[in-house]
Amino acid sequence: MVVRRKGEVLFLSVLMGMAGYLFYLTFSLSPSWYQPVGAADYSRFIFVLLEIVCGLRMFKIFRQAKFNEKSTLDNKIEIKRIRNCVLLTMLVIFIYLIGLTSLGYFISTFLFLVICMWILSYYSLKIIPKAILISIILVALLYILFGQILNIYFPPRVLLF
């Protein structure tokens, strides 16, 4: 629970920091002429409110008694395994988005689908042929729908598609 609370404090700190920085930036906004409430005033109101409510939540968090959640070794291993799986998926999605502009939409989508299915199946090699087949079908359908029927132009790419 302490870890979870630390995470929430960090989350709120980032939110408060962002609100504070944006509040500071409002002073560099162009003034709104003939407006009782301008763009900067309205934004400041929202940021101040956000700071107050986040502050209230922080106060509540620190006021609550802390307690540790004891976890078993097995539990720890499972938590670590799940966390790694989530982080790896995030990384794969990030690389996929970079790949959209370098490899092209269809090739990067194909690779993403195969790799992601492999990761989420807990690295089972058995599913690879199935994953390749599904990915080819899906990419082909997307190509027909978006590339041919809707005529949507995907980002410039270095490869064929």
Binding site: R4, L15, S32, A39, I82, V86, Y96, Y153
Partner: protein, 496 residues
């Protein structure tokens, strides 16, 4: 009545009915897939309607519109991911009900509710469209601002266990609307010198990021479970009968009226209606504590409300020529391509067309019911048999292409990813996501209309309380907050 029969004659033919059914089916598919929207479905069909008679072309497009809004129910129920912004509130109860092993009950309730909402709004459209258009025209910045504030009161009841967290979430949603072009002056705000930021964050990537990616990562955390639902030998065999309709008739009527009313107002629509209907149903319920845990009243309210907006949205489009949102803008384009200028004169000069559209709207709703109830449920529940390791990457790929297709900008795809990470963080630390989305939807309406109203009144806040509709909205807001706080107090007492 005779006009309606003339209209009905023009759309009931061997050649029009299959077209309407195809439009509905395509809309349902697009609505059901996260990332693809009703707008995209209507835009896809639009070129095919150029060669058709105007009335048939228009009802085919309306079919896709009705299907697109209803289709959002499917992914909201089976994946906990709203297929469209109109079905966000559906996820609150439909997904938990499906998780309890009753996906068929959740789907059937949603389908029937969508149908009833569509039919009631259609009746209102036929009977009172011109009168309602006048009411819509009387909405100025004061009324819109009060409406946005009324909508925001929903956040109190969305966060019963911690209204502070709910409030933080809503304020976060309001904050992200501040990026981009200022809605009154048109001056760039918090763009950090990036040209792409001038348009701010688009609704669909933000919504999909917050909902889909957060749900996706939560499902990955439970990846040891092979399916989203525990594999069952047999699905529940629930029948939505007259008893359910009788027990919830007030909910149906209330949600239909709210949905139609909000649908009429340009720029409001289904994204807000589903929240407001859900909130009102919760407040009126004898068992508000069951909401969020699979209450069918919640599904009825959200789905009836969002489908009722479809009829409402056609009111300003046909009577005034004002499109309320992007879908009705495409529908309007479909009429104008044929040289038809919507407006009050259309009701005098093009009786067959207008009543043909009205009749087509009813037919589209019937097709929506038949396609979903008879064929859809079997197909949708098939998705439950797809293992997570296949389903989740496909959802990511669909969301990515859907977000890119909106503006053909890779920026929107990065927005999807960014808000996905934020949404996951929020979910992990117990911050509800719906208030953030509500803040994001209502933020621009609130800011623009507050500033315009104050410019109009010379800085005086008095007109907010002296104009009749605005005053009614204000009273409704106070009443809504009071009821919500009473609910929160009850909840806290029970918790203690």
């Amino acid at each position: 009545m005779s006009n309606f029969l003339i209209g009905l004659q023009s759309v009931v033919s061997w050649y029009a009915l299959p077209l309407i059914a195809s439009g509905v089916a395509l809309g349902l598919i697009f609505g059901a897939i996260p990332g693809l929207t009703a707008t995209l479905a209507v835009a896809l069909i639009l070129p095919f309607t150029f060669g058709l008679p105007p009335v048939i072309g228009q009802v085919t497009l309306i079919g896709a519109f009705v299907g697109g809004i209803s289709g959002g129910l499917v992914s909201a129920t089976l994946l906990g991911i709203p297929g469209t912004p109109s079905s966000i509130a559906t996820t609150f109860d439909a997904f938990p009900l499906a998780k309890k092993g009753q996906p068929i009950k959740a789907l059937k309730t949603g389908i029937i509710s969508s149908f009833i909402g569509g039919i009631i709004s259609g009746m209102i459209l036929v009977v009172a469209s011109t009168q309602l258009a006048k009411i819509a025209l009387s909405f100025g910045p004061y009324e819109y601002f009060m409406l946005a504030i009324f909508g925001l009161t929903v956040i109190v009841s969305l966060g019963e266990d911690s209204w502070v967290r709910s409030f933080i979430s809503a304020l976060f949603g309001l904050t992200i609307t501040l990026f981009g072009m200022d809605p009154v002056d048109g001056v760039p705000r918090f763009t950090f010198g990036f040209t792409r930021m001038q348009t701010g964050f688009n609704l669909i990537p933000t919504l999909l990021g917050l909902f889909v990616f957060s749900q996706l990562f939560s499902e990955i955390e439970k990846i040891s479970e092979r399916y989203i639902f525990k594999a069952k030998e047999k699905m529940d065999s629930f029948r939505f009968g007259l008893r359910e309709i009788k027990n919830n008739w007030l909910n149906f009527i209330r949600s239909s009226l709210i949905g139609t009313g909000l649908g009429i107002l340009p720029g409001v629509g289904g994204a807000i209606a589903n929240f407001v209907c859900y909130d009102q149903a919760k407040k009126a319920s004898n068992k508000p504590e069951s909401f969020g845990k699979g209450a069918i009243e919640g599904i009825i309210a959200s789905e009836t409300g969002n489908n009722a907006t479809t009829g409402g949205a056609l009111v300003p489009m046909l009577t005034l020529g004002i499109p309320g949102d992007t879908v009705t803008a495409v529908l309007l384009g479909g009429l104008m391509i044929h040289g038809i200028q919507p407006g009050p004169l259309l009701f005098v000069e093009e009786v067959e067309l207008i009543y043909g559209i009205f009749a087509g709207f009813f037919i589209a709703n019937f097709f929506m019911l038949i396609i979903q109830y008879v064929f859809g449920i079997k197909l949708f529940t098939w998705a439950l048999r797809v293992p997570k390791y296949i389903l989740l990457p496909i959802i990511v790929a669909m969301c990515t292409v859907g977000c890119y297709a909106i503006n053909c900008q890779i920026f929107d795809v990065w927005v999807l990813f960014l808000f996905g990470l934020i949404g996951y963080g929020m979910k992990k630390y117990g911050y509800p996501i719906p208030p953030a989305v509500l803040g994001f939807i209502l933020g621009p309406i609130a800011e623009k209309n507050l500033r315009l109203a104050l410019m109009h009144s010379g800085g005086s806040y008095l007109p907010f309380f002296t104009r009749p509709i605005s005053l009614i909205m204000f009273c409704a807001t106070i009443f809504s907050i009071f009821i919500s706080l009473r609910g929160v107090a009850k909840f806290s007492r029970k918790g203690n």
